[in-house]
């Protein structure tokens, strides 16, 4: 699937490619899939046409959001591996086929097909399409990651902005009759035709992203920028952490709590915005009409969208931890102000709600940049995907809290603002917990870092870390676990070498730094545990000797008698500085031909197995 046109290798940007072509590519996907937030437009016509309850008509949306979280979490690693064009194409396919299936369901009046199509299939498209553009933009804008993620995720908010009036106009044009906002009649095929047109138009719209998206070439940097120029801080790492390791860190779960609670607090007000303002001010001298309440909801949408780009861009300047202090700390204060003063002052209420909603949107937009700071760019998309489960949880938690409490207060005879005061204090409590979780975020410990240095663009660049980590690590099992995660999930690295069988011999491309010196690294105290000469020059999946435990095959001094700087009598007979007369024909200082891999793979290996660094590795090992 990932071969050919869709493969990552086909979309490496040529020289002179402007990075400002990437945001529109990302936006063409996010603006499309953001349509999910405009589902409510279809609810009333569906209820009328298929005789559904409000709960039933919400099912496609709910399933869609659940599938978004699940597919982002489950497919995140594959998305990273196969690249953004593949991801955008899959997203297009799922999202648009979902509409087609929903059209069939509406046409045949089989509602389950609408749910399955829009929610199930379309939801997968949402998850896959959500994370890939974000991680691609992060790689193109290493100097402004907050702004980059803000652009993409603002697009997701903007999707509903476009779809809401557009879908309503189309439903009207195809035969849904409205009077004072209520559906009077629905013509046969009106909904089916609307779904069909949506699917087709979005397919065309998203195609731009599929065609235009590019990944930066290895070693690419923005003009006049170097990593040293970027804002540095304890939380901004130059190391890389795989998705698999990331979820084992407390930092991931702290951010999970931060996102979940920030979103819960936002949803709390977003869900009930319209009835809330009516209950607060409907019967006061500052009377608010239903039309004005709709305007209030629109204003909150605007705040939600603008907050994504504005606050997220600001996080590039003030730092990610500080900006979340603002979202959560000031958010709690805003809720408190509403609870204490807002119930009497319309302007104060509206102002606070706007700020809260801007923080809500910003929380979504800044989190990928926060992840990038903590875990590096290597698998930031996959890590982001896993973190989105917090969104799914918040999607249930937020409305549940505010609806449940409002209902129980109503049953107890309360009315007006009293319906919401308890909810407001609960939201304050949640935001304070989120604030504390953010305070607990510390730099990720070295034991979670990849056992190799990875380039900024997520491709393995050198192997220093292997020996360094090996030297530091105390448990062989720990080393093995770390090393095993990274390569299996990097497309480039996976194919770079095939040391599985031959260990050091095949993978250490350069005789001088490979076999000879790597054995040194092993000799520094790791021999017989996890050390294998292959580790220093073996960035590939199978070539990772930690993972495969090749010590038993080639690197194990006990079996092969491989010691110190002596040649390794493994299968290939790779020997230090001398030509290798083994199967691979590996000769001293030259790259390994033939059996190593196909030419493309070997090229990858050449990129990754940086011999100079390998030499350092040996030194580190010493």
């Amino acid at each position: 699937m990932s071969a050919g046109f869709l493969s990552r290798s086909r979309i490496v940007a040529p020289n002179g490619w402007s990075r400002w072509l990437v945001p529109p590519a990302a936006l063409s996907v996010h603006l499309a899939i953001g349509q999910v937030y405009a589902w409510s437009v279809f609810k009333a016509p569906l209820e009328k046409y298929l005789n559904l309850s409000g709960k039933e008509s919400a099912l496609p949306f709910q399933l869609g959001i659940v599938m978004l979280g699940l597919s982002a979490a489950v497919l995140g690693t594959r998305v990273e591996k196969n690249g953004p064009r593949w991801a955008m194409f899959v997203s297009l396919l799922c999202f648009c086929s979902g509409f087609m299936l929903a059209a069939l369901g509406a046409y045949t009046q089989q509602y389950w097909l609408v749910v399955l199509g829009y929610g199930g299939l379309g939801g997968i498209g949402l998850g896959v399409g959500y994370i890939s553009p974000v991680s691609t933009l992060i790689k193109w804008f290493p100097d402004r990651p907050g702004m980059a993620t803000g652009i993409a995720i603002m697009g997701f908010g903007g999707g509903a902005l476009i779809a809401s009036p557009w879908s309503a106009a189309m439903l009207g044009a195809f035969g849904v009759a409205y009077e004072k906002g209520k559906v009077l009649a629905v013509a046969d095929d009106a909904i089916a035709t609307t779904f069909l047109v949506h699917g087709l138009v979005y397919a065309v719209f998203m195609t731009l992203g599929v065609l235009l998206v590019r990944v930066p070439p290895e070693g690419w940097r923005p003009k006049g920028w170097s990593p040293a120029d970027s804002k540095t801080g304890a939380l901004i790492t130059t190391n890389q952490v795989s998705a698999r390791n990331a979820i084992r860190t407390p930092q991931f779960w702290c951010l999970w709590v931060v996102l979940c609670l920030n979103v819960t607090a936002g949803i709390g007000i977003l869900e009930k915005a319209s009835p809330m303002i009516l209950d607060f001010f409907g019967k006061t001298s500052m009377a608010v009409t239903a039309t004005a309440a709709a305007g209030f909801v629109a204003l909150l949408s605007l705040a939600n969208m603008l907050g994504r780009i504005v606050w997220s861009s600001a996080s590039d300047v003030v730092g990610r931890k500080n900006i979340y202090r603002l979202y959560l700390g000031a958010g709690a204060i805003m809720y408190l102000v509403i609870a204490l003063i807002g119930i009497e002052e319309k302007v104060v209420f509206i102002g606070c709600a706007i700020v809260i909603l801007s923080f809500y949107g910003a929380g979504f937009a800044t989190i990928p940049a926060y992840l990038r700071d903590l875990f590096g760019t290597y698998q930031v998309g996959a890590i982001h995907g896993r973190l989105l489960t917090a969104w799914s949880a918040a999607g249930v938690l937020g409305p549940l809290i505010i609806n449940q409490i409002a209902d129980s207060q109503k049953a107890a005879g309360y009315s007006g603002p009293a319906l919401y005061t308890t909810s407001l204090y609960i939201m304050i409590g949640l935001l304070v917990i989120g604030f504390l979780a953010n305070e607990l975020v510390r730099p990720v410990k070295a034991r979670f870092h990849e056992a190799r240095e990875l380039g900024d663009l997520g491709k393995p660049a050198a192997t220093t870390a292997a020996a360094t980590t090996t030297a530091k690590a105390s448990k062989p099992g720990e080393i093995a676990a770390k090393a095993s995660t990274a390569p299996s999930e990097t497309s480039g690295a996976t194919k770079t070498s095939n040391a599985g069988e031959t260990g050091a011999a095949k993978t250490s491309n350069t005789g001088e730094t490979g076999a000879a010196k790597t054995t040194n690294a092993g000799a520094t105290g790791n021999a017989g545990k996890a050390s294998n000469p292959g580790k220093t020059g073996t960035p590939g999946r199978t070539g990772n000797s930690f993972k495969k435990g090749n010590r038993a095959r080639t690197g194990n001094p006990a079996r092969t008698g491989n010691t110190g700087k002596m040649a390794i009598p493994g299968k290939t007979g790779n020997t230090g500085k001398t030509p290798i007369p083994g199967k691979t024909g590996n000769t001293g200082k030259t790259p390994i031909p033939a059996k190593t891999a196909n030419p493309a793979k070997t090229a990858d290996a050449a990129e990754t197995a940086n011999t100079a660094t390998t030499a350092k590795t040996a030194e580190a090992g010493k």
């Binding site: 936006l27 039309t291 709709a294 305007g295 629109a298 949408s301």
Partner: protein, 34 residues
């Protein structure tokens, strides 16, 4: 392909519908103050 043209086209592709959505939103927001 001409890069400046491509950049302009790409931004217009996403900018035009976005502007439409933003315009519709502003129309709604004004209702709050009527």
């Amino acid at each position: 392909m001409n890069r400046p043209f491509l950049i302009a086209f790409a931004w217009l592709w996403v900018g035009a519908p976005f502007a439409y959505g933003a315009y519709q939103l502003v129309l709604k927001v004004t209702q709050l103050f009527q």
